[in-house]
């Protein structure tokens, strides 16, 4: 049980040296583009690019192995569930029906359904490398300043940076409390009945929550004493100035975003690309 997110290792390459704001904006723009479009061509382009960026960032495979496994499991489940619930949704979207083969009853496999489901799966998969790059290659202390510079109020950005700061601490506390309670014979495994287990879980979470409440009191008093929140703006220790590469990266992301929108509006006349008509 280890938090792998923001498992930040300092590296120096084109991706790591980009400013946090750049990475945040690119992440949001490309995710929005993929979220908006149902055109498999645009999605594949973004997917290929994001895989290239992932390779450029030199993030190691073992850092993301577990995460990729979860994603795969989720995608497979979503693929199956979609077919079970709506096997003819593709036909409904594209308006035509090209039957590939029949399974039974209403479960007919059509090319339309396959295009819809493959597009959807790629849609989800293509943003994963982007998310991994963003979360693993950004210095956590810099992240809050980026969010602030992207237009979010610094108070909200500070809350976010506190979250990242205290997440590992809370995990350690949780492990300590959980180990201590299990030493005293608290069973959390499947052997215990549901109601009892819920109670046992509460016995671990209650000390954790109440010690956190005390911590909140201490930290907010400390911050008040240092005059937090007096001014409308603040500066950040970890902020990185924008360089030429940043401008280039943001322009590329913006171009891809606008390109995807243009493809939907002017070529496809809608969210979906329809090769069947």
């Amino acid at each position: 049980m280890k938090a792998k997110l923001f498992d930040y290792v300092e590296r120096h390459n084109a991706i790591y040296n980009l400013s946090g704001v750049t990475k945040l904006l690119c992440f949001l723009l490309l995710t929005a583009a993929v979220m908006f479009s149902y055109d498999i061509r645009a999605i594949v382009v973004i997917m290929v690019l994001s895989l290239v960026f992932l390779a450029m960032s030199q993030i190691q495979f073992r850092q993301i192995k577990l995460m990729l496994l979860y994603v795969l499991l989720f995608l497979v489940l979503n693929f199956i569930l979609t077919f079970v619930f709506s096997p003819s949704y593709g036909t409904q979207i594209y308006g035509t029906e090209h039957v590939l083969f029949r399974i039974f009853g209403r479960y007919v496999v059509t090319s339309e359904q396959m295009l819809y489901q493959v597009t959807k799966t790629l849609k989800y998969a293509s943003v994963v490398p982007l998310g991994i790059i963003f979360f693993l290659s950004t210095n956590p202390s810099e992240l809050a300043s980026s969010i602030n510079r992207a237009g979010v109020s610094y108070k909200a950005a500070f809350a976010f940076s506190l979250t990242l700061r205290y997440f590992p601490d809370l995990i350690r506390d949780y492990q300590d409390i959980s180990a201590a309670q299990q030493c005293r014979g608290l069973d959390l495994s499947k052997k215990e009945k549901l109601g009892k287990r819920l109670k046992n879980i509460l016995n671990i979470t209650i000390p954790l929550i109440f010690s956190t409440l005390e911590r909140i009191e201490t930290i907010s008093n400390t911050m008040d004493l240092r005059g937090f929140g007096k001014e409308k703006k603040r500066t950040w220790y970890a902020a990185k100035p924008l360089k030429r590469n940043d401008v280039f990266a943001i322009s590329l992301a913006l171009l891809l975003f606008l390109g995807t929108i243009a493809l939907s509006v002017f070529v496809n006349h809608g969210k979906f690309w329809n090769p069947f008509v």
């Binding site: 709506s86 809350a159 940076s161 205290y166 997440f167 819920l198």
Partner: protein, 187 residues
């Protein structure tokens, strides 16, 4: 007097630490229900508890940030429609903030009822209306699939917020000094 939308330093710190706690519980402390891929998320109990203590802004941000972080950690990307729905559900629970005075040691059966009414309405709006509608608008998921998922999520999250939130509020009210419990000594 409590002000519904006031953001003090304490609100910010509570949001930060609350979100960290939310993400932690969301990933590690869940009770499987026996149905695959559905479990009782204790995180929503915590979220509702913090929403009552610190108000709708803290509640909403806690669930939004916490859910986004745990999604990013587990899947590498963020499922925006459900993250937004999470935030909205805890924001709505937070609207009961000015009406419950657990921080003054008062939490009776009337408050239990009030908290649970808010909590159930919030969960219904978030999971049966907002989450599925956003799924359809953003991701073009088939309607019957997302409404089924939404209804299941609503049920379990309402149970989590209701049972765990109520228990936490009881425990919290017990350790808080009652208002007016100190009297001036006669001279």
């Amino acid at each position: 007097m409590k002000k519904m939308f006031k953001v003090s330093t304490k609100t910010i710190v509570a949001t930060g630490l609350g979100a960290a706690l939310f993400a932690l519980l969301f990933m590690y402390v869940k009770v499987p229900t026996g149905i695959p891929e559905t479990s009782i998320q204790t995180a929503y109990g915590l979220g509702a508890f913090f929403a009552v203590l610190f108000g709708p802004i803290a509640g909403g941000l806690i669930a939004f940030i916490g859910h986004a972080i745990s999604d990013a950690l587990q899947y590498g990307s963020i499922w925006w429609s459900w993250v937004v729905a999470s935030g909205i559900s805890m924001f709505l629970v937070g609207l009961v903030y000015t009406k419950i005075r657990a921080d003054e040691g008062e939490f009776g059966w009337k408050d239990v009822l009030r908290f649970n009414i808010y909590q159930i309405i919030a969960n219904v709006i978030a999971w049966i209306v907002i989450a599925p509608v956003l799924d359809i608008v953003i991701y073009s998921e088939p309607a019957n699939l997302v409404f089924t998922q939404g209804a299941v999520a609503c049920l379990w999250n309402a149970i989590a917020s209701g049972v765990i939130g109520t228990l936490l509020l009881f425990a919290y009210a017990k350790i808080r000094p009652k208002k007016g419990s100190l009297s001036k000594e006669e001279e």
